[in-house]
């Protein structure tokens, strides 16, 4: 039960707590087995929901169940304002704005006027509210469409049309073929006499294949219109586990248990079944689909975590500045204590009333306190709260470009890149470890039957483009030609043998082998129209691609499955239709790693067919029957898996009447058990599956995806360690490792493959010594290609993970260039990711496509889902999703790199930008008797971070590119700058702060000294500072912009112009004290001289340091940039390089 999240790994719990709970899902063969923990607990009436079938009134007496109308929209017209505001103020940033604004409203602290103090808050609230309102309006629109769809509901013994929103819990609904299920219903009966319904769950989990759902024996024969069903369903409370359901139904005094195979969820579509009737158990927002309709997981990027540390530092600076100001203010007041009463510019006493009182003076202590609070208000933007909002906008922009990247569009599956998590874009630029699943991620997960070994004979003859005569096998049904949808290449020898029907042993074994392939599965054949009207295609739908491949193979050899119901199957064997009763089926589970089906032959003999993984099958095969065959098969399996094929072993046993009877009774008891049904069924299966006769083995190829070897090579050049974690056998894993260039012949392999803790310990120690030796030798020979590869299997990991051996494994693994883990369970995958995550600071990325990768994807810093063949669970749990593994290269090397560079620069720049302004204000405060007067008008201080400087940083954060795509792809090593945190680190922060200090000193003191002892007024000097600071920050940005597009030009110079316009407008308002100041100022030469002097003098240190570093210690990015520009014979030296992605068109 390792795949069942109900029993979570202790250290997994924390990270997965916010994420979706998709419950258990079987591995590759996808059985919907119930969890142990679920079935052991019986439902008592307190925590059950009671549903009276066809009696909605009694069911919902207390009106506690929701109706079926849904509301994904959050707001209504009336609730929009309060609710939206409430939600917005959940963010820290907005609270900060709000508190500052409230403080400012106190008359003692009124630094800014009312309007000016509310503006920053109001503007962000407004922008967010407009965005939310638009999104909500769209949701309302789709809700309306959804709620008004029609369904047919049983009212007064007749099915009548009703709108979806009027359906109630307890009502009986009828859904016809190709209709969507309006709410979660428990099946009562279907058009199929055995009570089977086929559903497509693409809307729910994206899996396009059909799943089977069953009506219970007790209800399936009832016709609701005539035969009133009077039952009571006790079901669990609504939950979001879409693969689990537990309930029982009391009907006619009998108690029947209901499981996940008896419920159809809202959003599924009925296929291949004329009609189904069911009773509503969950409706509206309580349906599992709606409960799962929540957003993407939320993670915090590494850069943001670091940034928060620096923000703490900035807060410390802020407090320091405020303390300095308030302390000085206290000293000043104390020194002038006696003069304050009548001093012209202070005038403590108020003489306007009869009584002489202190005006706005509350004693020295309070004054100090007030000046502290006032300085917090004035210096508020020291903490760049707007940065959080800019970062969100930048991430949206970056996501826009990632989604629309032509080179990450998968034409085969018609999927674009998806950004599900919007807050970890920049983490993509710092990845050090990639953990990859194999099947479906490195490979296509499009299974193709290749070879078979039947009773010790290997049929892996010549592989030709041979499909049998006339392009594959076909049969005649009612004058129509039916052929399988997919053609399979066949082995001519085997084809011939399979056609001969004699009583020889080999012919019989071949017959049984293919019969097993055709029967022992959960595949449903669906007949679809072909282009030729006389032809029909048989499409095999099932949850496991391996099974599909096997059934198509069987069909190609003349064993064509054409019908499956829950009670029987029909197989066309070499043109002859045969019907077999399916007496029982033990579905696949990850413990047994096999499945079995019990077939009743037309001649009433009973046989059990078992198919499963070799390790689990050889345990239950009766070796005494034919030792040579077993040995030969084992040898074939080994050779198959060493060329990277997936193998399955098939066995069979005839059941005697008594054996069958014992099995049948225990099977019936187990399958109707209320508690522990899955466990009981497993026990029954284990009792049955033994002493098998080995039929043979099959080999299926899962081809590598396009571009995987090149991608892995690029990643490794980028100094990213690629680990492959797979459930496959060691041999398969190693061979895939070779074909994907993960392993090379130069590497020395360390294989750890043990069965006990002691032996694990020993081999780890040996391996450490070996690896040290190899690395020493490597260093001596200076050959960088040879290195160590570690191959370790799941059994050993059981002993190593969560024990003291972990540390040794980590040490060993970090020495190895490649780590391959085979035969690992889903939770072990997460454990391996955690092994790295706990011990290093390096970023990890997990990529996978299946349900078994979900835990790993959630554990890693960045989770990437492949939207491939195996459903969408990995995608739903992931932060990013894409169609192909090879897109990882542009994602990390190009977009990740850009995102990181952009975001890192933007954060530093925002720190600088805000601190510069605050420092200029601060210096001035020292010249105003520490009273927090600002020469810069309050409107300019407010608009500074909203209009004057906001746009360029966002635009540059979205658009600037330090290097072109081509250079980044040709030199994967350039990715190292992100891994080494070159663009954002504590040193850079401090350098930036020192630079800021210098710039603020220049910006403040040049005008002060130039205008010292002159008749300059406050507003004019304020305007000069406003313009100087805005010009400075924009020129500072302009110096760092690498790629000037027209948009960058427009934003940088545009915001300078916008600032000038704003300053002019502010100074053209006669009710403000600074009326016309800018015009008088601009008329004097000294103003322009000051401005020019400030701009040049402030930028010199930065420019000098930058130029010096560029020349003497050029970083890789700098050199690559120069090479890009001067086209420096780069192509010639690197002509051998494989171009991964040619430029578009």
């Amino acid at each position: 039960m390792s795949s069942n999240p109900q029993i979570p790994n202790p250290h997994l719990q924390s990270s997965s707590s916010q994420s979706l709970n998709f419950g258990s899902k079987g591995l590759r063969h996808g059985s919907d087995s119930e969890g142990f923990s679920m079935s052991r607990r019986d439902l008592n009436d307190d925590d059950a929901r009671l549903v009276y079938v066809n009696d909605p009134l009694t069911t919902n007496e207390t009106f506690e169940f929701s109706g079926n109308s849904i509301r994904t929209g959050k707001y209504s017209v009336i609730t929009f304002l309060p609710r939206n505001l409430f939600e917005q103020f959940h963010r820290v940033a907005y609270m900060y704005f709000l508190i500052i604004a409230i403080l400012n409203q106190l008359p003692q602290l009124a630094v800014f006027g009312r309007g000016a103090s509310i503006l920053p808050l109001a503007s962000v609230l407004f922008v967010t509210a407009v965005k939310d309102a638009y999104e909500d309006w769209r949701r309302h629109k789709s809700d309306k469409i959804e709620n008004n769809r029609m369904a047919s509901v049983l009212v007064d013994h007749r099915f009548q049309h009703k709108k979806w929103k009027d359906i109630q819990v307890g009502e009986v609904v009828k859904v016809s073929a190709n209709e969507t299920i309006p709410c979660d219903i428990v099946l009562l009966s279907t058009s199929d006499p055995t009570g089977v319904a086929y559903v497509q769950t693409i809307n729910l989990d994206g899996e396009s294949n059909l799943k089977t759902r069953y009506a219970k024996q007790e209800t399936l024969s009832r016709v609701p219109e005539k035969d009133f069903i009077n039952g009571l369903i006790r079901s669990e409370k609504p939950n979001r586990n879409i693969y689990g359901f537990q309930a029982n139904m009391e009907i006619d005094g009998k108690r029947v248990s209901l499981g996940p195979s008896n419920i159809i969820l809202r959003g599924c579509v009925i296929k291949n079944t004329d009609w189904t009737v069911g009773v509503v158990v969950y409706a509206g927002r309580e349906t599992k689909a709606m409960l799962n309709n929540s957003g993407a997981p939320s993670k915090r990027s590494r850069l943001e975590t670091h940034m928060n540390q620096e923000i703490m530092l900035l807060s410390f600076f802020l407090v320091t500045l405020c303390v300095i100001v308030s302390a000085c203010a206290g000293v000043w007041l104390r020194r002038h204590q006696d003069e304050l009463d009548i001093m012209q510019f202070y005038r403590r006493k108020d003489y306007s009333e009869g009584q002489v009182e202190n005006y706005n003076y509350y004693g020295l202590g309070m004054e100090i306190f007030f000046s502290f609070l006032m300085s917090v208000i004035v210096f508020q933007i020291m903490i760049p709260i707007s940065l959080y909002i800019s970062m969100e906008l930048v991430r949206v922009g970056q996501a826009y470009f990632m989604i629309r990247d032509d080179k990450m569009f998968d034409a085969a599956s018609n999927t674009r890149f998806q950004c599900r998590a919007l807050n970890i874009n920049e983490d993509l630029g710092q990845i050090k470890y990639v953990f990859s699943d194999k099947t479906g991620t490195l490979t296509e997960n499009k299974m193709e039957f290749q070879f078979a070994s039947i009773s010790g004979v290997d049929y892996s003859g010549e592989k030709t483009e041979f499909y049998g005569e006339q392009g594959g096998y076909s049969i005649q049904v009612n004058g129509e030609i039916w052929r399988p949808k997919i053609k399979v290449q066949v082995d001519p020898k085997l084809l011939k043998l399979s056609k001969t029907r004699d009583d020889s042993i080999s012919s019989k074994e071949i017959y049984d082998f293919f019969l097993a392939l055709a029967a022992c599965n959960t595949i449903v054949p669906i007949v679809v129209n072909a282009s030729n009207p006389n032809e029909k295609l048989v499409d095999y739908q099932g949850e496991s691609p391996d099974e599909q491949a096997l059934v198509y193979a069987a069909a190609a050899y003349g064993f064509m499955l054409i019908e499956r119901t829950s009670g029987h199957i029909v197989i066309d064997i070499q043109g002859e239709r045969q019907r077999f009763n399916v007496l029982g089926m033990h579905e696949f589970d990850s413990d047994r790693k096999r499945m079995s089906v019990i077939l009743g032959y037309p001649d009433s003999t009973v046989k059990v067919f078992v198919k499963g993984a070799d390790t689990s099958m050889f345990k239950i095969i009766d070796e005494s029957l034919n030792v040579d065959v077993v040995r030969a098969t084992e040898a074939h399996l080994h050779s198959y898996s060493s060329i990277g094929l997936r193998t399955l072993v098939v066995g069979m046993r005839a059941l005697s009447v008594s054996e069958f009877d014992t099995w049948q009774t225990s099977y019936e008891i187990a399958s109707t058990a209320l508690m522990g049904r899955a466990g009981l069924l497993r026990k029954v299966a284990i009792n049955l599956e033994n002493n098998l006769n080995l039929l043979g083995a099959s080999a299926i190829e899962d081809r590598l995806q396009k571009g995987v070897p090149e991608a892995i090579e690029s990643l490794r050049k980028a100094n990213i360690k690629v680990w492959v974690l797979t459930g496959d056998k060691q041999e398969t894993a190693i061979s895939i490792g070779y074909s994907s260039k993960l392993l090379t012949s130069k590497m020395s392999q360390i294989i750890i493959n043990n069965n006990s803790k002691m032996s694990c310990k020993k081999s780890l120690e040996d391996a450490l010594i070996t690896s040290r030796n190899v690395i020493n030798v490597t260093h001596a020979s200076e050959d960088d290609a040879s290195s160590v590869a570690l191959i370790i299997d799941g059994t050993s990991l059981v002993y190593i993970l969560d024990s003291e051996l972990e540390e040794q494994l980590f040490e060993l693994a970090s020495k190895c260039a490649v780590v391959l883990c085979c035969r690992v369970a889903p939770l072990q995958k997460a454990g391996i990711v955690a092994l790295i995550k706990k011990r290093t600071d390096d970023m990890s990325l997990a990529i996978g496509d299946g349900a078994n990768d979900v835990s790993m994807i959630q554990m890693a810093d960045v989770g990437v889902g492949i939207s491939g063949q195996e459903g969408r669970q990995a995608v739903m749990a992931s932060d990013f999703a894409m169609g192909q593994f090879r897109f990882l290269v542009p994602l990390l090397l190009v977009h990740g790199h850009w995102n990181y560079q952009r975001m890192a620069y933007m954060i530093l720049y925002n720190f600088y930008r805000n601190a510069l302004f605050v420092l200029v204000l601060f210096w001035y405060v020292l010249y105003t008797g520490f009273t927090l007067t600002t020469a810069i008008t309050e409107w300019s201080s407010v608009l500074y971070s909203i209009i004057y400087t906001a746009i360029p940083t966002i635009v540059i954060g979205i658009l600037d590119k330090d290097l072109g795509r081509k250079s980044l792809m040709t030199y994967p090593q350039l990715y190292g700058s992100g891994q080494r945190k070159e663009s954002y680190n504590a040193k850079l922060f401090w350098v930036t702060m020192v630079d800021t200090l210098w710039q603020s000193v220049v910006a403040f003191f040049i005008p002060v000294l130039a205008y010292w002892k002159s008749d300059i007024d406050g507003s004019s000097l304020g305007d000069l500072w406003t313009l100087a600071v805005v010009f400075m920050v924009n020129i500072h940005l302009a110096m760092d912009v690498i790629r000037w597009t027209w948009i960058s030009h427009a934003s940088v110079w545009g915001s300078i112009i916008a600032t000038c316009i704003c300053v002019i407008i502010i100074d053209a308002l006669p009710m403000l004290p600074g009326y016309w100041a800018i015009f008088n100022l601009a008329g004097s030469g000294l103003f322009w001289i000051c401005l020019l002097g400030v701009l040049i003098a402030s930028m010199i240190p930065r420019f000098v340091v930058k130029m010096f570093m560029q020349h003497c210690k050029p970083c890789d990015l700098q050199i690559a940039r120069e090479a890009e520009k001067f086209r420096n014979s780069m192509e010639i030296t690197r002509s051998g390089e494989i171009e991964m992605n040619l430029p578009h068109r």
């Binding site: 396009s208 674009r416 193709e448 010249y927 105003t928 007024d1017």
Partner: protein, 358 residues
């Protein structure tokens, strides 16, 4: 600061892939491909200029700054040198005694506040000669002070009672004050009259010493002083109630509050040249109280240049920056010559420098 969880980009985009385990001959045609529409913008391939500062550019930039800054620096210095400035501090000279005696003297209504100063002109002063008063240690930018005014009231006769921002000098004897507030209340009221040694009176032109914009827009022509300096504490000068505010230029100048605690305000202009060696006698009516907070009062006569008053700072600053840039230009030239680097040479890349290091 989590991003709004309800808006994952493309999160629920349904997969329209027809699925079907690998169906190369799938007959379902792929309608509406989701391939992103190609544009240079979405592919981030907009034409762009990628400037790289080569040594040539760096040196030229420094040289350019040198070439621009050195001449400006010299011109500024010369301009400043040509300005003739006479500064006379008279607050202590006019009143002797301890601080409390001084305060008492200045507050007394009856004491004789006339004080005569004589200034020697060392260098010829060409007209117009600007007469300033300079206050030191007077925080006209104090927050209590700058806020205590009503710009509405100054503009509009109708807003006479708009005095809420003027506290604590908004009403006196129960009536609104026009102009209200501490700024107006503390109006500077020392007066100066000048005569040469030959007893020729030098007329001071006090017209148009304020900004035209202030006279035209900010101070109303129909707003007359009212109830001004009628409170129990007199802060400074009083105003003629028959002259509208826009003609009370001393008030207009005073109400443009200074940026720094040491400031000058224009008192008037002398529109004749004064020869070198001449002595000017100044009769000062020393009324303004700076004694209570140890402020200084100075009388300043100054000619002017294109750069304003006498101030060497800009000249020195420009010369320093210019000189520094010249130095930097030479330093970088030397660096580039001694240790040249071929731009974009891949051998400098870190993984090429130390092989095996990745």
């Amino acid at each position: 600061m989590n991003s709004n969880p309800s808006t994952p980009m493309n999160a629920h985009a349904p997969s329209s892939s027809s699925g079907g385990a690998g169906s190369p001959d799938s007959n379902a045609p792929r309608r509406n491909s989701k391939r992103p529409k190609y544009s240079r913008f979405t592919q981030q391939e907009l034409p762009a200029c990628k400037p790289i500062l080569t040594p040539k550019w760096v040196i030229s930039a420094f040289m350019l700054v040198t070439i621009v800054f050195i001449p400006i620096g010299f011109t500024s210095l010369f301009a400043s040198r040509d300005v003739v400035e006479i500064i006379d501090r008279y607050d202590n000279a006019c009143v002797q005694g301890s601080k409390s005696q001084k305060v008492q003297h200045i507050q007394s209504a009856t004491s004789n506040k006339t004080c005569i100063r004589s200034l020697t002109v060392r260098k010829r002063m060409k007209q117009p000669i600007y007469v300033y008063y300079q206050l030191d240690n007077f925080y006209q930018n104090h927050r209590r002070y700058v806020k205590s005014r009503s710009d509405q009231q100054l503009r509009n006769r109708g807003d006479e009672n708009d005095t809420s921002t003027c506290k604590p000098e908004h009403v006196a004897n129960g009536m609104s004050i026009v102009p209200c507030g501490l700024v107006a209340w503390s109006l500077f009221n020392d007066t100066y009259s000048f005569s040469t040694s030959n007893n020729i009176q030098l007329t001071i032109n006090k017209r148009h010493i304020s900004w035209k914009s202030d006279r035209d827009e900010k101070f109303g022509s129909d707003v007359f002083p009212k109830n001004f300096q009628n409170g129990r504490l007199i802060g400074g000068g009083s105003l003629n109630e028959s002259i509208p505010l826009n003609e009370q230029e001393d008030l207009i100048v005073w109400m443009r509050t200074a940026a720094l605690p040491t400031f000058r305000k224009l008192y008037g202009k002398i529109e004749v040249d004064i020869e070198a060696g001449e002595t000017i006698n100044v009769v000062v009516e020393n009324r303004y109280n700076t004694y209570s907070f140890s402020g200084k009062k100075k009388l300043v006569l100054s000619t002017t240049s294109w750069l304003g008053g006498k101030n060497n700072f800009i000249g020195i600053a420009y010369l320093s920056v210019g000189g520094l840039c010249f130095l930097l230009a030479t330093t970088f030239t030397i660096i580039y010559l001694v240790k040249p680097r071929h731009l974009g040479d891949p051998t400098y890349l870190s993984w090429n420098r130390n092989p095996g290091g990745h």
